[in-house]
Point group: C2
Chain length 194, copies 2
């Protein structure tokens, strides 16, 4: 005798968890709903009661991973002093999290295509993007960061640079080097590399 809220959370959780691992291993298109169902120990009717379609289940997985990313960033940022150090630490935490094989495939490679550009943007806007933007704003206001364009624009550009860092390094072999390059990029705005 479980409450409805518990049943709901249980079923959704099983589906999201099974889907998460299968999407990470085989990709969205090559993961059949049937194998998700058997992995979750749930029936078709249950799944389509909780999610309108396969893509909506994928979006729920994206949401979960994004929340995990936020947690990792907040943890990395916790002990930092100064807006620039905070920004750097948070950015590196983001990169490290996104470089994980499962996360990269789902959030970086497939999400824009599966969710479509708009819903993908909305996802970003809900999580990491505002965090990065506020970090940049603060650093600019404190004078730790100099940029002649807009803070919003710089956020888009840096966000993309970090994304590329993950996307261009399929097996994370050059990650240490690229992390350094990212830090060097930040330093270009703080006037330390004339």
């Amino acid at each position: 005798m479980a409450t409805n809220a518990q049943r709901r959370a249980q079923t959704r959780g099983c589906l999201i968890n099974a889907a998460r691992h299968l999407f990470a291993e085989q990709g969205y298109a090559d993961t059949s709903t049937e194998i998700i169902l058997s992995g979750a120990g749930v029936t078709r009717g249950a799944m389509y009661h909780h999610f309108r379609n396969k893509a909506e289940l994928f979006e729920a997985v994206c949401d979960l991973l994004s929340r995990e990313a936020m947690a990792a960033i907040e943890k990395a940022v916790a002990g930092q002093r100064g807006s620039l150090a905070t920004l750097k630490a948070g950015s590196l935490a983001w990169v490290d999290f996104m470089a994980r094989d499962d996360v990269r495939r789902i959030l970086v490679v497939e999400a824009p295509s599966v969710l479509g550009q708009e819903r993908w943007r909305a996802l970003d806007e809900r999580y990491s993007f505002p965090l990065l933007r506020e970090g940049i704003r603060e650093a600019m206001e404190e004078g730790a960061l100099h940029f002649s364009g807009s803070a919003e624009g710089l956020t888009v550009l840096l966000n993309g640079a970090m994304n590329a860092l993950v996307l261009n390094d399929p097996w994370a072999e050059n990650l240490p080097r690229l992390r350094q390059d990212l830090l060097a990029l930040f330093d270009c705005f703080s006037g330390e590399t004339p």
Copy 2:
């Protein structure tokens, strides 16, 4: 009485052209091979004679669009004097081309997912990436660009920044502003904005 090479070029051209427009309008997953076939005026047998599968046809479309991008860039770069001016002009041309609705959807949004990370990277490596890398190398060697990290790394970062510029602006409403921000970013490396 057409030669085989002509027949081949004709059939492939029709398929690629039809697929290009349909993929741009409805996306890869929602475009059935059947509608491509009727659009191209070609039968199933013909298509699967020239392409191993649907994804390979998509890749052919990507190749075509990438070549068109190269042409646009080379045209924009033609009259420029100086490595930095050349770099800026080429980058803006790349952004403007990729911001086109059809190009963005195919090359920026869907290609990483449909081709898979490796083949997508290979595509980039075949076209725009080397161009950008050489532009950056030259500018760095001439002293027009300063960066304490590697040229390769800076290429990855700038390439990603430009990608994000296109991806974060679904209806290109902020494109003029973002183009300015990109130029401001370049200036950070040339020591013009302390």
